[in-house]
């Protein structure tokens, strides 16, 4: 990803602009370092709720204007909250870039938090949570996270507990917003059919006057060491039994990050690095061959993503009829934990590199995914890490993969969760 204009405004806002002339389109992303990790019992779900409130009116934009203005120009927009970050975007015809700049500057400095709107959004979010509860995978993951993490806020669901959604107040939402929605806690990234220097001037026009704030230097409590396997299960009416397993792994920036990315791809195929990419490439990878081809499960896979604080490498499977759950579980755990004794072959390493290279190439097709990559990697560390992603994977050896497997993928470090239809 060549030619990124990088600037830091006086108020601390990091601005990244990439000229990309493939289509007459531009995408604008704003990311904030706030998410589930900045919450505690009593206010779980507050970051996600703040995200909703930033669509409900600001000094210059009425409720609904963000969607209306974007749609009027044929654009798309959305926002989402994760354990670590809250991120928004608009993709519009390139000539209309001022629309997202106005929207994001208003969101950063001038959201209203109207009291009546806060109450009406409470029930919307409860409805969103109830929709999630209809999905058995949500039910098990909520339980699994609360078992993996005993102290760290990653144990709470990003959407919040029902109890907290019933009690969070408008003042708490506003305080959370003021704490974290500041230019010095944000990244603004633009990619598209634009002139970088001229775009930076537009960014200054909209954002320069927003004052910096002293954001809480909040470091969530560390998670005590895990001393042995943990297990949990959810018994609930449902369709198929399925299992999730999580192994605790270190935070972003740790030297083991890239060996873990490689390990995940060896187990279940090369994944997109940014927003969107190619299809599933895991049928020749170890988990699919050992578990699905061998007819022990209907589907199975693994996942590893960078996180601000230590999180997990995870895997899952969905049962097929006529198989004993223990048998499927053992097959999945054996292939994962067997990596330490059976490091990847040269052919596996080469295939994974080709797959990841191709995924990165697919992610370059759309300015939406290009701008996402800039904002996301900048929030995690530095945007240029996405450029170096492949290089870092090239540097990973089979011995590195075996070493991280031995370090993290062992019984005493794992938490196993089962959903059992009742």
């Amino acid at each position: 990803m060549a030619d990124v204009l990088e600037a830091v405004l006086e108020n601390g806002l990091t601005v990244l602009i990439r000229e990309s002339r493939g289509a007459p389109v531009a995408s604008c992303w704003a990311g904030y370092r706030v998410g589930g990790r900045n919450e505690r019992p009593g206010i779980t779900g507050i970051s996600h709720w703040v995200e909703h409130m930033t669509f409900k009116g600001s000094a210059q934009l009425a409720k609904g204007d963000i969607f209306r203005l974007t749609a009027r120009h044929g654009g798309t927009n959305n926002g989402f909250t994760t354990d670590d970050f809250t991120i928004y975007y608009e993709t519009v015809p390139a000539a209309q870039l001022d629309v997202p700049l106005l929207i994001e500057s208003q969101r950063m400095g001038a959201a209203l938090f109207d009291a009546a709107e806060t109450e009406s959004e409470r029930t919307v979010i409860i409805a969103e949570r109830e929709g999630n509860e209809n999905n058995p995978h949500f039910l098990l993951y909520e339980r699994l996270a609360a078992t993996v993490f005993q102290e760290h806020p990653y144990r709470w669901p990003v959407i919040g507990t029902r109890e907290d959604l019933d009690r969070i107040t408008r003042d708490e939402l506003l305080a959370h917003y003021r704490d974290f929605y500041a230019p010095n806690n944000a990244v603004l990234a633009i990619a598209g059919d634009v002139d970088a220097a001229a775009t930076l001037e537009r960014v200054r026009h909209y954002f320069e006057a927003i004052p910096a704030a002293k954001t809480p230097n909040q470091r969530p409590s560390g998670e005590p060491a895990q001393a042995g396997e943990r297990r949990t299960e959810v018994r609930h009416p449902g369709a198929n039994a399925f299992m999730q397993v999580a192994y605790r792994t270190p935070e972003v920036g740790h030297p083991d990050n890239y060996p873990l990315v490689m390990l995940d791809a060896i187990l279940s195929g090369g994944k997109p690095v940014t927003w969107g990419g190619g299809g599933y490439m895991g049928r020749t990878a170890r988990i699919y061959r050992a578990v699905v081809e061998e007819r022990l499960a209907a589907s199975a896979g693994s996942s590893y993503r960078f996180s601000v604080d230590p999180h997990t490498f995870s895997a899952s499977l969905t049962m097929r009829e006529g198989v004993v759950p223990e048998q499927a579980e053992n097959a999945l755990l054996n292939v994962i934990e067997g990596m330490a004794a059976e490091p990847p072959t040269e052919a596996e390493l080469a295939r994974t590199l080709r797959q990841t290279e191709a995924q990165i190439s697919y992610g370059q097709e759309a300015v939406t995914s290009q701008a996402f990559a800039l904002v996301y990697f900048q929030l995690l560390g530095h945007w240029s890490d996405v450029e170096r992603h492949i290089q870092r994977l090239h540097e990973v050896t089979a011995a590195d993969v075996a070493r991280v497997a031995a370090t993290y993928l062992h019984p005493a470090n794992r938490t196993v969760g089962w959903f059992i239809p009742s």
Binding site: F67, G75, R122, A239, G278, R320, T356, A358, S361, E365
Partner: protein, 417 residues
């Protein structure tokens, strides 16, 4: 307005090839379809088209499933084949330099599947798992029941592509072989390739597919009028937290002259911005749903208009009343000038976004071919939108969005009476 340079040609073997070459990308997307969807199967063999399509990648006369996957995944490419109601479709994505190799695998998979018993059993079990998930999904249950009520029994629009446990259990190797032999035909194949490509390589590879050029038997007449009866039913799923609500009405087919007017009035009612007027009323004012939106499904033989909402059991009746009230309002008076302008601008303005990626372009070209819209459709499209007026939108609302003809389905916890 468009930077596209789409090309169309009919190859010697009868395949319709569409392509759009771009130099600013290193990847390429492929999509194609045969007239081999569930519309071809007898109701007693529901799921045959889908199972056949799934099995294509599970081994050929030359290579095992693992070898086929390796040939593609080793290149960082991917491919998929699936059955839908009207068609059997396939797609692939790869780097431009690997297009020839990926087309070779696709050609082998589409022409020479082996349908081995072991693979049939494995795939059948996967379908059973999917069927159980479908049985447990409020959304899938509400949709299935709605289509059962709207369309006559036996029509492909009335049933799920996945089939049922009984029909899937009864399908055997010969069923799959003969379905494939009858309906996977060069004369019926449309393929679209977009991105970094050499048209010579595509012509050479695809032009060599299918030596037998005889066409598939014609489809039976499937034009159908969806039910306009006022009806309501519920699918009780007491273990769920939320109700999936569907309100549906008979719509139109894709080539119907009212297509653009109905699309636009629906956009204003339940889609534009944060789910249109329905979103404003049910989500923003009432705070009763995270999602409530409406859509026009305009297909080859018929179509329907549908609203979806996820609501708490206690709010079902209020939500239905609010939706019906908004429908009544949009058929009583013209939409505002501002709403009309926003809908026009959205439909015309969003075209470049939809055509940004190779996937988007290949899908667009195939859609143009499927519905006979012409490859210059993108240039004519703004004219179709601008021809509509607030009056034509009102007429479309009055004609199609009639609460006395609504089918209402709820799936989830039973509402307290």
């Amino acid at each position: 307005m468009s930077r596209l340079k789409p090309q169309r040609e009919v190859l010697d073997n009868g395949v319709v090839l569409l392509w759009n070459q771009r130099d600013d990308t290193s990847s390429v997307a492929v999509r194609g379809m045969f007239s081999a969807g569930a519309a071809r199967e007898a109701p007693a063999q529901a799921g045959l088209a889908g199972l056949t399509a799934r099995l294509l990648r599970r081994g050929t006369e030359q290579r095992s499933a693992q070898e086929l996957s390796a040939a593609v995944e080793d290149l960082g490419a991917s491919f998929a084949v699936s059955g839908s109601t009207e068609e059997a479709g396939f797609s692939a994505k790869c780097l431009g330099r690997d297009l020839g190799a990926v087309l070779q695998v696709l050609g082998e998979v589409l022409q020479y599947p082996s349908f081995e018993e072991r693979e049939i059993e494995k795939t059948r079990e996967e379908v059973f798992t999917q069927l159980r998930e479908q049985d447990d999904s409020t959304r899938a249950q509400a949709d299935l029941k709605t289509h059962e009520l709207l369309y006559p029994a036996g029509h492909p629009y009335a049933r799920a592509v996945t089939g049922t446990r009984d029909t899937i259990a009864a399908l055997g190797r010969e069923d799959l072989r003969s379905f494939h032999g009858a309906y996977y035909r060069a004369a019926d194949l449309r393929i679209s390739v977009a991105g970094s490509l050499n048209p010579e390589i595509v012509r050479r590879e695809v032009g060599a597919w299918f030596q037998d050029m005889s066409p598939a038997p014609p489809l039976p007449a499937l034009e159908v009028e969806p039910s306009g009866k006022a009806q309501r039913t519920q699918v009780p799923m007491p273990h769920k937290s939320q109700v999936d609500l569907v309100i549906a009405a008979p719509g139109i087919n894709r080539l119907h002259p009212d297509f653009y007017a109905l699309t636009m009035v629906n956009l204003i009612l339940g889609s534009l911005g944060l789910m249109g007027r329905l979103g404003e009323r049910v989500r923003e004012q009432q705070g009763m749903a995270y999602y409530v939106y409406s859509q026009v499904a305009a297909r080859t033989w018929a179509g329907e208009w549908m609203t979806h909402a996820g609501v708490a059991p206690k709010n079902v009746e209020v939500a239905i009343a609010a939706i019906v009230d908004e429908v009544t309002r949009i058929r009583a008076e013209q939409v505002t000038e501002a709403e009309f302008a926003d809908a026009c601008d959205y439909l015309i303005g969003s075209m470049p976004l939809r055509l940004e990626t190779n996937d988007g372009i290949s899908g667009y070209l195939l859609n143009c071919e499927y519905y006979n819209l012409g490859l210059d459709y993108i240039d004519r499209y703004p004219g179709y939108i601008r021809k509509e007026t607030r009056e034509t939108l009102l007429e479309a609302a009055q004609k199609y969005l009639d609460p006395s003809r609504f089918t209402v389905v709820t799936a989830g916890p039973v509402s307290p009476s």
